[in-house]
Every structure is written in C-alpha cells, then in structure tokens.
Symmetry: C2
Subunit: 352 residues, 2 copies
C-alpha cells in the first residue's frame, strides 16, 4: 500500500486541539481509501521556546525533511514576540523548504453564513495564490539615527524574476484546471512604482503562454473593494506575499469562513516537504476550552492528501464537510452551534 | 466678508463633470453662510500632457500655492501611464504641499445600500487616517540584472519618526473630538519586521499622550476581515500610506458608498494648501455621458469648507446629502436611479 510520512506539529493554543481532529479524519480517510500514514510528532511550540530558548532545534528543518508533508496547527502565544515564534518556526519552514506557493481556497460553504447580503455558495468559489517567500516580507532593512528626530526605518521589498515567474505559472496552471479559466492579478503599480510595475510585466509575459486563460488586474485597494462587492468575479487571484496575505484573509471573511479556512504552503517541485495549516491562529482566548472549530485543520488535511496524490480521499473529506454543514450536522459556537472540537471531528471522521 | 481662494482642477474624465456640481453646491453654501469663494481654474490633465508633454507647468506648485485650497476632480486617462499622470500631478501636489494626512470618512448613508447583510447607518461611521507622504510609496528603488534569470527589483518602504508621529497625533486629536474616542492602528509587524514594528512603537508612544483615548491594533490581513465582519468596531483607524489606501477603499465599499466617498489631503499646519478630491477616479467608461455621481465631489467640497473654517456650511452640505438620499431624492444610476450628474448637483445646491 501507498505510504505517506507526515510530520505533525500541533504548535500552540488551539493548534493542540484541532490537530488531533485533523489526524482523526486523515486516519479515517486512509482506512477507507487504502493508504498508510506514518506520523511523526514534534512538540515544537512557544513552550519549547520557554524551556530551551528555541522554537525548534537547530537541525529542525533536517528532521522535517524526512517527511513527505508537514501538518501544522498554529504558532504563537502571548508573551512570546512574533519575531521569535513565527520567525523561529513558521517562516523558516516556508522559506527553508521553498514553499513558494501559499494556496488558500475561498469558498462559501453550504450552511455557513456570509456577512454579505444575498450571496450563496455559487457566488463565492475562488483561490488566492500567494507568493510565499519574497516580496514585502524581506530580510533587508534597518534603522538609522535612533532616538533622534532624524530617526527612520527602511525595509526593502524584493521581487525576483524567478520568484514572480514561478508563482504566476502556478496560478495559470491552476486556472487551466478550472471551469472559468481566469486569473486576476493584484497590483499597485500606480503607487509602488519600482516593484509593482515589474510584477505587472511578468504577469503579462506569463499570460502570453496561456492563451486560453482570461486575465485582468486590479490595484489592491479597489480589488479589496471588489472582493466585497463582486466576489463572484473571481476564479484564481494571484498576489505578492503581502497582497496575497491580505486577500486570503479578506476572501474567507467575505465567504463567512475565516474560522474554517485552510491553507497549503506548497513546494510544487517537491524538492522539500510542503506544509498544511489552517488560516486561523492559536486563539489564546479560547484555547484550553476545547470549543475551537477543527474544520480549518481538517480541510487543510484534505489539501495535504491532494498534494500527496490522494485526490479521491481529499475530495471525499471536502464533500463530507460540505454535506454535514449543509445537513445541519454538529457545529462549534463560532458557527452558531454548541458542539465541541472533538464532536465535530468525530462526526466528520465517521462520515468519511 | 470672509474670502477663500480655491484652485479648481477638474482633471480628466468624469472629473470635468463632477467638479462643476461641486462648485454649484459650494456656491450655494457661500451665499447661504455669507462667505466668498474666489475660484481660479486650471485645465491641467492628460489633455495638457498630450498637448505640452507635461501634466502641469514647471511652476505648477507655485501657482497653486497662492490658493487656500485645491479642489480636484480626477486624474488619469487610458493611454497615459500612471507614472506620468498620477506622478505628474496628484502625487507631486500631495508631497510638495506636505499634505501628510489623507482623511477619508467611511459612512453608511441613509438610503444607500451596504453589501453587508443587516447593517444600518448606526453601524458604519468611522474615519480612515492615512499617512500620505512616505511609507510604501517611496522613491527609492531599482532593478538589477535586467533580462536575465538573476533579474530583480527592489523598493524601499521608508518610515520616519517625524512622519509617523505627526500622522498618529492627527489620528488621536481626531479621536478626541469624537464620542467613542478610539484609535485602531493597522500594522503587519509579524511579517514586515523592520518598518512595521517601528510603526507600532511610535503608536504606543503617542498613545501615552492621550489617556482618554482607547487603542487597539490589528494586522492588516485580519483588520480587512474585521472591516467586513465588524465595521461597527471602528472609530478612527490610522494606517501607513499603503494600508491607509487599502482601508479607505475597503471601508467605503463595505458602507456601499465607494462611488460617493470623499477625501481630504490635509496639511494641518496650513504651511501650504490642502487638496480635496473624491475617492473615485476618472471613470473613462462613463465619461462624457453626464451620468457620473457627483456626491463624492460635493462631499469633498464639504470637507474643504470644514478645513477652511466654515464648519456650519460643511455640516449643512453633509446633512443635506444625507437627507436627500434618505428622502429618495434624485440619484444617479450607480445608486439605482435615473438622474444625471447635473440633476443631483442642482437638487443638493437648491436644498442647501
Ligand atoms: C491613484 C493612486 C496613486 C492613489 C493612491 O494610491 O494614493 C489612489 O488610489 C488614491 O487612493 O488616491
Ligand atoms: C503570522 C503571519 C506571519 C502570517 C503571514 O502573514 O504570513 C499569517 O498571517 C499567515 O497568513 O499565515
């Protein structure tokens, strides 16, 4: 039987509660669709940091490299600054494994409620394809004249030809698999006049290779407005690290699914493991109460299976989520129900 | 009688149609509230560029400097690249006159329709205070290794102590004039780790001076989501040039007022003229048909009067707009009516 090695990092807060439910459903899918999952657990988290001074061991990436995929819960905890927690675990994995695609589905699921008036599942169904290694999240910057009136900080946004071309290629290839075959580019070349015009240039160049795909581009300000006013316009949206980050929170917000959104950090060439994580964070306010919604984690598990070649199992999980939500199955408080994290996980696992 | 000198730049496209209606209402307000407006018209636009190779004359800023305020329509036209049109007229005025505050009200007006379900005028009423001179819109950047696989572009985001402190001060002072006295800061210090942590630092420092003002901060991704999910949470939102740009399109979109939103580019110390313009652009698709909605322009005129010390007149215009919309007065097609640009302008002018 096919075997997939999974590194599991529950991380912090509700990550510890949602990850087991994700695994429960993955396990059910493995049994039904006839493949094996070999799990390896890592307790790397802000607690590790408190105990050891490091979020993960120095050879952390090497340890993970033995797996086919990383299944992550959430990273971050009050008292540990982001530059320690996120930049000590999440970001090094994304970059170290060249997971240059951050893929996030924006979907209005049946039974979940969009804050928009009069929108149904047929209106919101698109992907945000986010560049995940360069752009505005750069390591080049600094501060001058500290403590004086002349004080300033500077940070470079960097876009490379390689970085732009490969993310755009991914977006166009994804569009080719979809019915509408449409790619929208997020830009701001009218205000950010060195990097963004280059982004536009590479987008136009890549579009030439895909004559069947229709394209358009919007400045990020009006694009955000269109997400609210016309979510039905979008099929595949490609954006830089920052713009993709913004759009992939706004998209699920518009679809009413921000608590349950999934994401994949993908190395498409599989030269290193990819990583799958829910969009939500560690949610310290509800951590420990076992009321967190595990659907984002479970959905991320489905994206992982798809990446590992288990498409039938992946589709089954997503359809099961949609069906249970549509039929009024158990739901957590954020979706207006009373169920706990485990109830929802069990219901989905059993149905799978 | 009090006299105010206004430089009028209709600019391009529908700017030429909305500006006269803005002036019509300003004129009515002047007569009713007893002040004089001395207008000076400038035809600077993409047509000027076609004829002269320049968007405005070399001494353009000097010419405008004689006025108390600039009343602008819209800038930009297909065929003229943004770096020519915007960076030849709009941006040089903002920077040359140190209009470091870009102020944009986000308000659900009675009778206008928010795309959000179940939201009324009491739910959406806040200001976006945008830094308007530095940050991500910088002039420092370039390209290396053109045409090769090593090609990359780089652009610096620059935040100065002076630039951060003065925009934050403005936001806190504005909050002090409002009932809720709350300032929200837009950040992204978990991802953009040189500039944004400094922004946070200056925000915290300024907050200390305003113990009566409550504060919070959100990363821009989740903040955009909150704009959609909880627009009622916000009172005054302060952001960098880019984040403020995004939020001040998203805010009006959420309020259903993007076609009618107003904006002020303010030099608070009045060392140079301030500039008032609608948020919408030149709208080439409807230009020449006289169906554009003039309310954004008229509302911008009200903001101008407030800046010039004519608060009663400013309030009267805004209240008249709200009243006419609430009573089902004439409205343009974008608001579901049949009226033309001039009809709406005349109705508001007469009611004032
Ligand atoms: C036209 C463009 C440069 C401008 C900006 O981003 O500042 C516009 O979007 C605005 O908000 O006034
Ligand atoms: C935690 C933060 C650095 C991260 C990001 O901006 O990439 C998060 O917002 C995300 O989208 O995964």
């Amino acid at each position: 039987t096919r075997k997939h090695k999974i590194a599991v990092i529950p991380g912090d807060g509700i990550g510890k509660e949602t990850t087991p439910e994700g695994l429960r459903v993955l396990d059910a899918a493995a049994r039904r669709f006839g493949f094996d999952l070999e799990l390896k657990h890592y307790d790397w988290s802000c607690e590790t940091y408190a105990a050891t001074g490091k979020m993960m061991p120095d050879d952390g990436l090497d340890q993970l490299r033995e797996s086919d995929s990383v299944f992550l819960g959430a990273v971050g905890w009050p008292g540990v600054p982001d530059h320690v927690s996120l930049w000590g675990l999440l970001i090094p994995i994304r970059r170290g494994f060249d997971q240059y695609v951050n893929l996030r589905p924006c979907k209005l699921l049946p039974g979940s409620k969009s804050p928009l008036a009069g929108r149904g599942p047929e209106d919101i169904d698109f992907y945000v394809v986010r560049e995940n290694t360069e752009g505005e999240y750069s390591s080049v910057g600094g501060r001058m004249f500290p403590g004086t009136d002349r004080e300033f900080v500077s940070q470079q946004s960097i876009m490379t030809r390689i970085g732009c071309d490969r993310i755009m290629k991914y977006a166009f290839e994804l569009a080719m698999t979809r019915k509408r075959k449409k790619v929208t580019s997020a830009t701001k070349s009218n205000g950010i006049t060195f990097t963004m015009p280059y982004w536009d240039e590479r987008f136009a160049a890549m579009a030439k290779n895909y004559p069947e795909v229709s394209t358009n581009e919007y400045h990020i300000d009006i694009l955000c407005a269109h997400f609210v006013q016309h979510p039905d316009w979008f099929d595949v949206v490609v954006g830089s690290n920052l713009f993709g980050d913004i759009l992939s929170d706004l998209g699920p917000a518009v679809a009413g699914s921000i608590g349950i959104a999934a994401s994949a950090n993908i190395n498409p060439e599989k030269t290193a493991p990819s990583m799958f994580e829910p969009v939500h964070g560690s949610a310290p306010d509800i951590a420990g109460k076992w009321i967190a919604n595990p659907i984002g984690q479970i959905w991320s598990g489905a994206m992982m299976l798809e990446h590992l070649g288990e498409k039938a199992a992946a589709d089954c999980i997503v359809q099961t989520i949609e069906r249970l939500l549509g039929e009024g199955g158990p739901r957590t408080r954020d979706m207006g129900g009373q169920a706990g994290t485990v109830d929802v996980g069990k219901a989905i696992a059993e149905a799978v």
